[in-house]
Symmetry: C2
Amino acid sequence: MPSHVGGIDIGGTKVAAIVAGESGPLARRVMPTPKSGPIDTLPEQAIALLRQACQDAGVAESDLGMVGVSSCGPFVKDGGLIGLATPNICGAHSPGLPNDWEVIPLEAGLRRHLPAVRIENDCVAALVAERTFGAVVDEPDCVYVTWSTGIGFGFCVDGHVLRGKNGNAGHAGHMLISERQDAICGCGNRGDVEGLIAGRNLGDRLGMPTAELFAAARAGDAAALAHVHEAARWFGRALYDVTTCLDTRQFVIGGSVWLHHGEWLAPLVSEEIRRHFPALTDGVELRMTKLGNLVADLGALCLVLPDDWISAWRGTQPWSRLAPLPG
Amino acid sequence: MPSHVGGIDIGGTKVAAIVAGESGPLARRVMPTPKSGPIDTLPEQAIALLRQACQDAGVAESDLGMVGVSSCGPFVKDGGLIGLATPNICGAHSPGLPNDWEVIPLEAGLRRHLPAVRIENDCVAALVAERTFGAVVDEPDCVYVTWSTGIGFGFCVDGHVLRGKNGNAGHAGHMLISERQDAICGCGNRGDVEGLIAGRNLGDRLGMPTAELFAAARAGDAAALAHVHEAARWFGRALYDVTTCLDTRQFVIGGSVWLHHGEWLAPLVSEEIRRHFPALTDGVELRMTKLGNLVADLGALCLVLPDDWISAWRGTQPWSRLAPLPG
């Protein structure tokens, strides 16, 4: 019986690897996301990183059982396995990058070295973490949403976490909700949720970085404030649209924009949801993420935690150890 | 052991009751949807209709086991049970109707007389029918959508049919996808899918009934044709938005607009889906309903059919008997 589990979190800018035992996380390593070299560079370096974390923790590789992987998407099927077609990493989808990768063979590359891997979209993994240890423990009808550089969702309906045909359920940041031609998303859409209000796009239309836009709004600049308020209403409209699809009860919200400005903006977002179709929106709740910046790492681990560890960790909350771990 | 099952289909204009035995449907009765009288008039009359169908079929009430109910929504919780808050039936939500009903106690009213009832939204039931006997038998990631007087959806993801906190999953006809203020939906929304293209709204903007609009478009009238093509693109955009949420593979499409014009409009709808985000939309298929106008009645029955009847009916297809049944 393997005595430990692993977690790998793959983002557009960094990759993290974690090793945990029954008592909690033991070691964590981080590196910048590799974006050049052969097409299997990312899985190979992620494996190397996980091995380093094992060494740091004094855990033999043979003692590692399941490894959970939380990754940015979208995923595509690649010989029956999960491949990554992520615009932030794959040069074939974003001309500025130093590679010509079209589909990274993520699952094939990891399975070459690891006995048992479970890969999920990062917001799906975050939702699993919030349902396991965070703001929606065991809630059957809930959604995780991150408002950050991009906008992503993880969905749970009737107690089932949704995956979809390729594991891309929850890509609702790419829902078209407006005809605005100046709201351009990295995927090419005009008028999708990300194009309208993702952190990487929000400041553009006023010609300033998004952080400055929020600072100006908070300082009372009228144009900045109007722009931020409009963004909050668009965000509420996106959550309303998701509610019509899923009949959701709780939204757990994270991501850098929300972590900094969520308390301030929540009333506007709620108001935008509630002013539509009361039979669908009555009782919908917004909750702040309880796991904050740990949600990605913990999401990867939560995909593979044994049930009896979960019960124990709910009491001891050992994930707080992740914060000061090196990297 | 009860030897028969029942089905009740509740729509905005008619209610149908069906009785079926192992060999197939035996009797069907239909009446206009009651819209006046005490607040439990609808469930009481539906029970009376089902009893008439039992008599027609020569089936004793005591031989009736489960009864499946397919109903228009939205549903609200009413003392822990399902209540109807349907704008087309409840006067409190639509001032023109001859009643002041706010929430019809549907489940409570039916349970007073029936031992075992399963109630689902009509498009959820239609999806179950299409997955049981229709165009998407056993497909895990599929959606039923009706383009008719209104627009409704039933969702299946990873093999789970979605219900949501009150059974309202799939109300994506009320997704806001446009800022057009002249696209007014019965729910009060401006710019939702129904407001833009539901049968009851589509002709309004050109000042003619929707059937005439389609006839003019087919006859080559340029304005009508442009309007219908635009509607098909909005419909495609709605299906694209659902795809981003659910990572769907198949859309099964029914409803009067699609039954009459689907073959003609399908290429435009497909094109609108495919021109967005290929990693999400590659491989998405549109299929015509296989059950057509029988999907509602059969949907109610499919909610409660024993597994061994399903296997047998797949061979004998006895639902074709429903078409010529009286009513």
